[in-house]
Symmetry: C2
Subunit: 152 residues, 2 copies
DNA sequence: TATTGTTATACTCTATAACTATA
DNA sequence: TATAGTTATAGAGTATAACAATA
């Protein structure tokens, strides 16, 4: 019998620990900065994230969105309502279950995401002045892992 | 005259863009999860981060802490006051400038950070089940870059 | 009975503006 | 005058608890 899964990465345990430390600290600080560097001043980070999820998945129920964004259902109710009021998402009845709803993005949201991407490039450019190519390479390699981590 | 610094990483522009996309999304989601996976239920993420900074730097003024944490001075005033009330930091008069104060961590804070590290390892272990060694390697490589990014 | 989503309410964290004390 | 820190106040975002409708 193996305890391997309870003692992973023995060869890099301390380094992983240091990485998680750095990660947590960086995530919090970056999060605060991202809050201020908002693409659309009227959209919160979570609202943006929901739009991104819908762009990837096409559509989802409020409950699914709450689970994906790691937010409680009442919070997602509010977020979806705000997005709908802004004309960025559409709500339709669920075909199989009358309790649920189906949320999908509007054409307006797609246009906004495109504009968002353009503005992000500006931020990226200003950041690029402080990172060398090697650092960018490490960031590119880790990006998918971070996404996986966020979903785990 | 060169526009190079306004058009960095031409060879990886799109990939950098995708990385920033993934990064932003992951940072927000991880941030929310970290909020819940708090080591000490009574300490906010920023409070923990301040203790971490003090552990690294030894001591700092409230203004320095506010800049490091990317928080406004009044917010740091509140955070430091809460930490002091919990016996985790000590405030002393600044030797050269009577307007400033010097914040340093107490022995109690050191013990708490040790306990914190222990609990983080539990979280790390559970995460490790979902990441392979190659993914961890990428994360370790990117961790210092993320820290740099957060400070830039 | 269990589940999906909503309403009502309160809390946590942070910001801005105005103020005090010192440089 | 400028700077470090504080006080007072407001706002954004989220959570919990209680509820309605449907499965």
């Amino acid at each position: 019998m193996s305890y391997a899964k309870y003692m992973p990465d023995l060869s890099h345990g301390d380094e992983n620990d240091a990485a998680v430390n750095a990660l947590r600290s960086a995530v919090m600080r970056l999060g605060r900065r991202l809050k201020h560097q908002r693409v659309d001043e009227s959209l919160s980070p979570t609202e943006m994230s929901v739009l991104g999820t819908l762009a990837r998945c096409g559509h989802a129920t409020p409950g699914e969105l709450a689970r994906k964004e790691h937010v409680q259902p009442p919070s997602m109710t509010r977020i979806v309502a705000l997005l709908e009021a802004k004309g960025l998402v559409r709500l339709e009845p669920h075909p199989d279950d009358r309790r649920q709803k189906v949320v999908s993005q509007t054409e307006q949201a797609e246009a906004m995401l495109e504009e968002s991407r353009r503005k992000r490039n500006v931020w990226l450019t200003s950041l690029a002045e402080g990172l060398d190519e090697d650092e960018w390479a490490k960031l590119r390699a880790a990006a998918p892992v971070l996404e996986k981590l966020a979903h785990l």
